[in-house]
Structure formats: C-alpha cells, structure tokens
Symmetry: C2
Subunit: 367 residues, 2 copies
C-alpha cells in the first residue's frame, strides 16, 4: 500500500476529521476529493452494510448545479432521458453521453425547483461539459459547484436511524425522491438513495463548516442500531451489479452496453446531446454487453488497477472490469464487458496476475 501526498489539487471532505477519528486508513480520489475506502476491517464493514447500518463519507459525489431560466432546458439537452414529467422533489438516474453516444457520467439528477437542478455526479468533470454546452448554445443558466457534500446511511437499519433524526416522514419517501429540511439547524437535503442495494439515505449537507456536527448527530443517533463507519463497498456493489462510471466503462462505452438502456428515452428532443447516435446504436444493437463472471478458483482476489482480458476458446472477447470476493457467495465474482455474442453459462478464461483463471459467464446482479 502506497501513501497519498497531500496537495491543494485533492480536497479533503467536510467529514475528513470525523473519518480520521473513526480510523480511516485508505482513500481513493474522486472528483479531485479524497474518499475513504477502508477503516481496516473489510469483512466487518461489509456485514454492517448487509445486516445493520453503515455511515459513509461520500462528499466526493459533488453537485453540478444548474440555476436560471434555462436550467431545465439545459438538463434535458444534457440527459437522453425524458425529464418532462420530473417533479420538484424527485430524483432520476440519468446516463449522460457525448455527441457520439459515449457515456461520460451517470449522475442522479435532483430537481429542486423549476429553475434549479443538481446533477449528483460520478467521477468525471461535468462542470466543464455543462458550461461548454450552455455557453455554446447561448443558454441563460449558471453552472456551478455549490457547497453541498453528501453523507450516506446505508443498510437495512438506515431507515430507523434517519427516521430517529429527521422524523417518520422519511419512511414514506419514494426511491430517489428527496426533501429539503434542517437537522438541528443544519441545512440538508434528505434523499432516499445511495450506492448500495441494501436500502438507505443520502444526506446532502449544505454547509461545509458543519460536517463534523452532522457526522456526530447520525453517529450518536445510530448507536442503538450498531452504526459504524463504511464506504461504497467493493464487494456489495459487485454482488448487487452496481456500475462504477470510469471503472466499468471506457472511452468507447455506450449506455446500452452497461444495462442502462431502460434509462434512455429515444423520443427526447432532437437537440439532446448524443440522441442521434443513441438511436442508431439502439437500432443496430450494441457490440458489447455486460454479464457477470464467476471464477472457479476460490482464493479471494485483491483489487487491482487494470481490466483483465477475457478469452473464449483462446480468442479475446472482452474484459473483466472488476472482481471481488463475495462474502455471501464465497466466490470471486466480477463484471464482464464482453462481445454481445457471448451468453450466460459460457466458459471463459481470464488473465489475472500473469496466469489464466477459468470461470463462466452469469447473469447480473449476483444477489
């Protein structure tokens, strides 16, 4: 394990001091911000998400704020998904594409008002993208990065903790919907969302000076339910089939290759970026698709930096874009971005750490 050198290019989050106190020991960088990736007890952290409630610093899920008379128009130009019926207080998962239909991010869009939207983004620079489009098209909209830093509560007991802090109304929030509120005077947005399939909430802190206080409020409230620190969990997300933009996608990946077709509306206006390319790809059929891979060998794999090439009958047919040891399945599993001709059940070979491993293709999600 190597160190990270502090730098003004890499911003700590408002929860940084709180996570230090919790014993954070490793980070990744995401949107030029440090995101905790380990508190040193990976299996304990995993089961906490599956069975209890886990508290995450995900301030790195930054917001691209669109504000002004043309905010809604810009949102629809950027997103090849029909937003015409999106209500204030509603969130939507929106794959963003470039003019060639290539995926460039997959944010949650939050509609706070008719003239105010947030794109809660994955790890790529959508500020530059949205500003370029807004300026080139002469739209009356300001694109900015507001002082907003999400914290997530994930796991089956998250609802109890968040209801204890915010009130029972959170139990009735529909998935991806949100409400603006105050927690002990701290301005937040409470959304039913989060990058796990175990249920939970994201608390969008709207005052970066209050990170330590907000962390402490939920930590204290969660004590009765055994709350503890965690982070977007490598194992759980693979089991659950959750896509990581930039990890599971490359410079040529379109949304249809990543099981995102249901979030693309081909009837959106013709000035939506990438829609012509997406209509063509939908008509022709994508060249790759996304399947699961189950490796035969049982020794738990370690995370790596690179995609692993996948072979079928000695011919390269795709890439293993991630791989994790599943604590529930007790197997090494991952995602294949692979030629569309392949099918579930196909035996494959994967080159890992210099040697071939055997496995087979499977459906997604695993659990």
């Amino acid at each position: 394990m190597f160190g990270i050198t502090p730098s003004a290019r890499l911003r700590p989050s408002p929860y940084f001091e709180a996570t230090l106190a919790e014993g954070v020991c490793a980070f990744t960088t995401y949107n030029h911000m440090l995101m905790p990736t380990s508190y040193g007890k990976p299996e304990e952290e995993y089961w906490r998400i599956i069975n209890g409630v886990s508290q995450w610093d995900v301030a790195c899920e930054r917001q691209v704020q669109l504000r002004g008379p043309d905010a809604g128009k810009l949102a629809q130009i950027l997103a090849p998904r029909d937003l015409s019926k999106c209500a204030v207080g509603q969130g939507k998962y929106v794959p963003l594409c470039n003019h060639d239909g290539i995926l460039i991010n997959d944010p949650i869009l939050l509609k706070l008002a008719d003239d105010l939207y947030w794109l809660s983004i994955a790890d790529s620079n959508i500020w530059f993208w949205a500003r370029a489009i807004a300026a080139e098209r002469g739209l009356n909209v300001e694109v900015s990065e507001p002082d907003v830093s999400p914290m997530a509560l994930q796991g089956p007991k998250a609802v109890e903790v968040v209801a204890h802090v915010c009130g029972d109304w959170v139990r009735d929030l529909k998935y991806f919907w949100f409400r603006e509120t105050l927690i002990e005077g701290i301005p937040v947005v409470v959304a039913r969302s989060g990058w796990s399939k175990q249920g939970g909430y994201e608390i969008y802190l709207r005052d970066g000076s209050q990170g330590a206080r907000l962390w402490a409020i939920f930590k204290e409230a969660g004590h009765a339910w055994g709350i503890g620190p965690g982070n977007p969990n490598w194992c759980e997300r693979v089991e659950s089939g959750l896509i990581s933009y930039g990890g599971d996608s490359d410079e040529t990946t379109n949304p249809f290759e990543l099981r995102m077709g249901k979030y693309i509306d081909l009837h959106v206006p013709d000035d939506t970026i990438g829609i012509h390319a997406l209509r063509r790809i939908a008509a022709e059929g994508p060249k790759r698709h996304s399947l699961g891979v189950v490796l035969d060998a049982g020794d738990p794999v370690k995370p790596g930096f690179l995609w692993n090439p996948i072979f079928k009958d000695g011919v390269k047919v795709g890439d293993l874009t991630n791989c994790a040891f599943s604590y529930r399945l007790q197997k090494n599993i991952g995602f294949a971005l692979i030629a569309s001709q392949t099918v579930i059940g196909d035996p494959v070979d994967v080159m890992m750490d210099g040697r071939m491993q055997t496995g087979s293709l499977s459906d997604l999600p695993f659990l």
Copy 2:
C-alpha cells in the same frame, strides 16, 4: 500517511513497475493516473534535480490529441494565444480559459503537423471540453487520448544523458521545441521542456508497452552522471515560481492573476473562447495578483490539502496556495493569490494549523 486503494478508475503508468523497483513510496493522482511523489528521501531527491539529473514518471501529463482538417482551427479556438506562426516541431505554453476567461488548464501545445496537435495537459478534463466545443461548432476534427506517456529527465546534467541516448542534436533544441524519433526502435517525441527550472527534456513514449524498457535505457545511460528517481519537486517548483493548475488556481482564477498575461494575445480571433472576457479583465485590471510569501518561522512546513488564508492588518486579503521549506533559502516560502492592492514587502499573517504565522510578501520567482 494514508493508503491508496487500487481501482480501475486510477490508471497506473507504463513506468509503474519501473518506479516500484526504484522504491516509490507515495503517489498523487493526476488525470486519473497515479503519479509518484516520493521515493522516501526528499532532500536527496531535491539536490539531485538541482545539481545532477533526475528521472521522472510524468505519464499523467496526458495528451489531448486534435487530428483532422480543423485541428489547427480548434486549437486556436481553445487557446487565447496567437498560434498563427507556430511551426511544426514547436511547442507553446497556452493557458486555456472558459467563456468567462477563467483558467481551466495550462498545457504545452505541440504542433506535430498542420492537422495534428497535442495538448500536454495539467490535471483537468480537456478531452470533454475540446469535444464539446468541436461538436457544437461542427468542426471536422477528432479529439482523442493517444497512447503517449511522458517521462522527464530534469536537472543540469539531463542534457548529457539525453544527448548520450539520442545524439548531440538534442543540445540544439530550443526550449519547448521537439523532434519525433526512435530510441532503440521505440517511438518517442523528444522535447526540451519539463516542470522545473533546472533544464531538461521530456521523452514522450508513444508505445505504452515499452515503459520499462525506456526507463531502463535512460537509467543505464544516466549512471555515469549519477541519475536517480525523482518527480515534480514541491520545493524546487515553489522556489522557481512554477504554477500548478488546480493547486494555485481556483474556480474564479483568470490567467492575469497568475502572471500568465504574457501568454495571452488579446488580438486572437473573436471566436476564441474567453477572449471577450479576457479583453475586459485586461482593461479593468485583475482583482488579485500572485506574489511570493516568506514566513518568519523556520520549522519546515509539511504539505497540506488546503489553502491558508492570508491577513493584512487583520483583514483577509488572499490565500497561500502552497508552501514549502526551501533547502537553498532555508526558509518556508509559498505563493500568495492576493488582492492587487498588496505590494512586495507588505507584512502579512497566515493562518496555518490553527495558529497565525507572520511573514512578508516577496517577488516571484524566489530563485
């Protein structure tokens, strides 16, 4: 010091294995790539750059390639610097701005052919930016990330090593000029450039599979001149007044605030992005400027994540955007991005680690 968790979002460089063998112990991330920041002997690494020759993995200085009939047109639209006389084989330092005249990167532009340019970028996503502009303006140009990974040789003896490997023609290269060549069959571009003021070259490797070989060739050739590993050096760059985009700039910084005015040509065509804003800022005068800061206290500072606020007579007037202990000056020095009313010699107070430190404003560079 915290660990970095491996992830497919963070790419290792073609020199990764070579730097492991050299004993790399810390990294930063830069353009979604790992860049070595320490081999564990900071003072030895510093003096190697000042007095000898240092070998750097700067593959993270990625290339935004513009190729096609409109490549030159797009380059000029992106860069508010007159490129009309830029020759094939010439490089130029070009601040890039958005439509509001805000700095968004400061690459070296390399003109490889009339229809082929590289922008060798700092740490922000110019692929998205350039693609958005090219597509919105209907230009006939392909924007891509080629397989090109720079390695730097820096220090007064770098010229001897590069001449030994490439030939004496490298001694006659003018600063920022370059030549395409082969080194033992490996395709490279050799440029006289690099992010230090100690002289040197950048070798742009054009075949990522040959990183270990290219590293070894220069390591072996440099043996007689005491070559050793290094990286863009925190101390040397502060002494030399070199700007780090994203470290010394923020979301509101324009080039005039960072001593980049001499690289802006206000007469470039009206369709150049940001030129109207830049003409206005130039006429009004920027609100901040960049000066040096010398702290009075002598204990060497450690690198940090945040800017430190600067006060004059109790009023906040700017920010210390970096700070390093200078081995040559035996003082803590840094850059101030600070109100234009301040002048060299002004006493200031800087809030660092919870306490005020006294110091004074100075000219840049320090050395």
